[in-house]
Symmetry: C2
Subunit: 120 residues, 2 copies
């Protein structure tokens, strides 16, 4: 698994997944059923177990959630690591308006979801 940059943004694009991250921030290391129950009661979400499970898969693929198996339970832990660099991407450099022309040409995204790229 290559863990692209865009996966983090895609993962955060869904409000249910953001609420899951809120829930894991409030109480870390929950199981799937725990998350389902607390999403239903505290946040009024009616999502099914499979829906939450798929959301957790997306979050794990993005590196925002790590899991640990123990018997028949699977605990989920939030990982805020991928969150830090994605903001300083646009916040870090000073705002120069129309200064130079030739960019540094560093790759950040590589356009992961671009269809073609056409290597010729």
């Amino acid at each position: 698994m290559v863990r692209r940059v865009g996966d983090v943004f895609k993962a955060l694009a869904d409000s249910t997944r953001r609420t899951i991250l809120d829930e894991l921030t409030d109480r870390n290391g929950q199981t799937l059923f725990e998350i389902c129950a607390r999403l239903a009661t505290k946040h009024g979400l009616g999502s099914s177990r499979q829906a939450i499970s798929q959301h957790l898969d997306v979050l794990e693929a993005a590196g925002l959630v790590e899991t640990r198996r123990e018997g028949r339970y699977k605990f989920h832990y939030i990982n805020t690591g991928p969150l830090e660099p994605i903001i300083e991407r646009w916040l870090g450099k000073p705002e120069k308006d129309a200064g130079d022309g030739a960019g540094t040409d560093d790759e950040r995204d590589r356009h992961e979801d671009q269809p073609g790229e056409r290597p010729r």
Copy 2:
């Protein structure tokens, strides 16, 4: 326009829009045609003018881009304001694992893109 929280995440979910933000970070205040040209040359994107225009609409609706008209030109400026609070949402509070049970019940997202909500 209410400017919801989720709009910022939705706007950042697309890699072309992120590249546009990169481009505006590199040179602020570009016109639509400028952005099209530089996306094509520097980043190798073959998006049409209308596609870029629609992306800019999304970014503006999210508050990430502000515009200023001048004659027949429309200049686009990046606005990093909405970016700052969305990360400290999960980075700010300390990670307590399985501490209390009753949450603070503060609303952050309001679940803007939830279909039902069913007010009964």
